[in-house]
Each structure stands twice: as structure tokens, then as C-alpha cells.
């Protein structure tokens, strides 16, 4: 079970770690001060979440969080390409934030029932914090989605560009069946279904 568990934790942590850094690139460059602060805060949350997960990995025998975060080579990261993509314009960053955090909130919702207790406990904590990320994403998506012709077409363009990449968030682990049968995680397929349902709303 240990390899399957580690693989899952690496994947979740690396996604957050990389996107956290992308978010932090908005610090000082946001389209308005409040968005600057929002993306910086979300960066801090995400890197904090990844740190808690890397700390959990250390307890499973991996190296210490700083070593894991900063000294691996690119091919040792388990994140999806979606979170790596350069920030581009604000509309793309916002759409990615919306798609990713909607999935992330559902993922931690599922992990509340994880048979691995430390993960279930952390999920309970992170879930509350992610509410603010999804509130933020929904608010701004609504604002721009009902704004000018330009804002609407920009969002649509970013959405069309993002969706194929977003599917990478749900890439099954090589240990997928083990994760599911051991009750560690309900599985990427189930998560993707819930996510798709949520987006339709």
C-alpha cells in the first residue's frame, strides 16, 4: 500500500506546489490590487497545502519537504501539465484557477473518507480553506462571464484552450485499483464524473 499511497500524495502535492508558484507570479502584476492579493493568498495556501503533504511523505520515509520540493529533477515531478502552463493573460489564469480548484475541492471532499487517517484529517482542514478559493473563482468567473463582449469571448477562448489540458488532472495512478480497493482514494474516474457534473451547474 505504501507505494500507491506515496504516488497519490506526490501527485496531489506536486499539482499544488507548481500551481502555487504559478499563482505567486501574479504578485505585483495582478490586473487590480485585489486580484493581486487574491492570487498571492491562494499561492500561499497552495504551497502550504503541498508542504503539509510533503511532511506526510517524510513520515512515510521520503526526504524532508525542502529537499523534495526544490531538488528533484523535472521528470521526478508527478504534477499534470495543466498546472505548469505559463500564466499567460489573466483570463487564462482565472479559468485554470476555476477548473483546478473545483476539482481540488471535490478531491478533498472524497479524501475525507480516506482509510489513511492522516490524509483524511488533513482533507477536513484543507476543505474549509478551499471554499474561499472556489468562492473567489465563481465570483470572478460570473463577473467576467456577464461582462463585456470582450470579457466573454476571452473567457470562452481560455476555456476551450484549457479543457483538454484539464483532463490531465484526472490521470489515473499506476496503482489506481489498489488505491480504490484499499479505500485510500475513490479514484480519478469518479472524481472526473463529479467535476463534470459540477461544471454543468
Amino acid at each position: 500500500m505504501s507505494d500507491a499511497l506515496k504516488e497519490l500524495i506526490y501527485k496531489i502535492a506536486d499539482d499544488q506546489f507548481i500551481l502555487g508558484h504559478r499563482n505567486s507570479e501574479w504578485t505585483g502584476f495582478g490586473p487590480m490590487l485585489e486580484e493581486d492579493i487574491a492570487f498571492s493568498s491562494m499561492a500561499q495556501d497552495k504551497i502550504g497545502h503541498s508542504f503539509a503533504l510533503y511532511t506526510m511523505l517524510r513520515e512515510l520515509g521520503e526526504q524532508d519537504p525542502d529537499t523534495v520540493a526544490f531538488t528533484r529533477n523535472a521528470n521526478q515531478f508527478h504534477n499534470c501539465i495543466f498546472v505548469e502552463l505559463p500564466n499567460g493573460e489573466y483570463d487564462f489564469s482565472l479559468v485554470r484557477h476555476f477548473l483546478f480548484d473545483t476539482a481540488e475541492a471535490l478531491r478533498f471532499e472524497m479524501l475525507l473518507n480516506s482509510s489513511y487517517e492522516p490524509l483524511a484529517l488533513l482533507a477536513k482542514k484543507i476543505r474549509g480553506e478551499l471554499r474561499y478559493h472556489t468562492i473567489h473563482a465563481n465570483t470572478f468567473l460570473k463577473k467576467l462571464g456577464s461582462g463585456t463582449e470582450e470579457s466573454i469571448s476571452r473567457l470562452q477562448k481560455s476555456l476551450d484552450y484549457s479543457l483538454p489540458y484539464a483532463m490531465g488532472m484526472f490521470e489515473p495512478s499506476p496503482y489506481e485499483s489498489e488505491l480504490i480497493s484499499e479505500g485510500i482514494f475513490g479514484g480519478e474516474e469518479k472524481l472526473r464524473e463529479q467535476w463534470t457534473k459540477k461544471l454543468r451547474k
Partner: protein
């Protein structure tokens, strides 16, 4: 050495404040989740307000210092066994927050059942609720930014989580 109880340690820790909100002790903030005494060792469990809280190591060091200067050994563990929610802030803590000019967090379960509560946070200056949520993210992870239409001024709220 005198025998001490967990209440003694609680009294000691009153002096350790949240570095971002100096009127609030860690006890009132609710981040000290367990205190146990074993011979001359004080074992403490703490939990962060926000997982990414940058002040955690600092607070841990202050807790250790507060105990060691009284001649006891301290062991502090940070974990999520009894994870923090804004509902853990004591009544005394909420009053201190308001005096400090920060709106205290409303009951978190109520907020997430009805997000409108976030839209109409109670202004710490005039107690009015004719207010708007400006940004769920404020100057620190635990604060959101609101605007009071009566006072025509912005204020911050300690976020319900």
C-alpha cells in the same frame, strides 16, 4: 518543583500572542489543542489556523520559550488531529478581535450553509450589516476584506473557516 496542571500551563500561555493579532493569545485563538504533563515535561499539541500559516514556527518557538523559562521541558507537536476552525476562538478572543477593529468570525457552519452571511458581515465599528464582501482574501490568510455602506469605510473580518 511545584506540581503543575494543564491549567497552570494555560495561564502561562496567555502571554503568547498571535504575532499578526497581538491582542489575541494562542489559548483564545484556539490553536493549543492539548496539554499534558509528564513529570517535568510539558507536552503540547498545536494546530495551525491555516495550513499555510507562515507564523506557525514562530508561535511554536514562543510556546517552548514560555515553558522553558519556567524551568520545565517542552515538547510541542503540530498536527491536524483536532483541526482548527474559527469556531475555536473563545468568547473572550472574539471580544478582543472586535476591539482591535477586526470583525470576529460568525459561526462557520451557518456561513457555509448560507454564503449570504459573508456578503453582509457585521461592521465592527457600527455593528451594521449593510456591508459588502470586497475580497475573500485579505492582507493575511485569515482575513477577508469588506466595505461598510453606513461608515463608508472598509473593514476586515477574521474569516469563518
Amino acid at each position: 518543583m511545584n506540581t503543575i496542571t494543564s491549567d497552570t500551563v494555560k495561564e502561562w500561555l496567555e502571554e503568547v500572542k498571535d504575532p499578526e493579532i497581538p491582542v489575541l493569545s494562542l489559548i483564545d485563538l484556539g490553536v493549543i489543542t492539548q496539554i499534558e504533563i509528564e513529570r517535568d515535561v510539558v507536552k503540547i499539541e498545536m494546530t495551525p489556523t491555516f495550513v499555510g500559516c507562515p507564523a506557525m514556527d514562530f508561535m511554536k518557538a514562543e510556546v517552548i520559550e514560555s515553558i522553558e523559562k519556567r524551568g520545565r521541558k517542552a515538547e510541542v507537536e503540530i498536527n491536524f488531529r483536532d483541526s482548527w476552525s474559527s469556531d475555536k476562538i473563545s468568547e473572550k478572543g472574539k471580544i478582543a478581535l472586535k476591539k482591535f477593529g477586526l470583525a470576529p468570525p460568525p459561526d462557520s457552519a451557518k456561513v457555509f450553509a448560507d454564503l449570504e452571511i459573508l456578503e453582509n458581515a457585521k461592521c465592527p465599528r457600527c455593528d451594521g450589516t449593510d456591508t459588502e464582501l470586497r475580497n475573500p482574501f485579505g492582507p493575511t490568510l485569515c482575513r477577508s476584506i469588506h466595505y461598510c455602506n453606513s461608515c463608508q469605510e472598509a473593514f476586515e473580518q477574521f474569516k469563518p473557516v
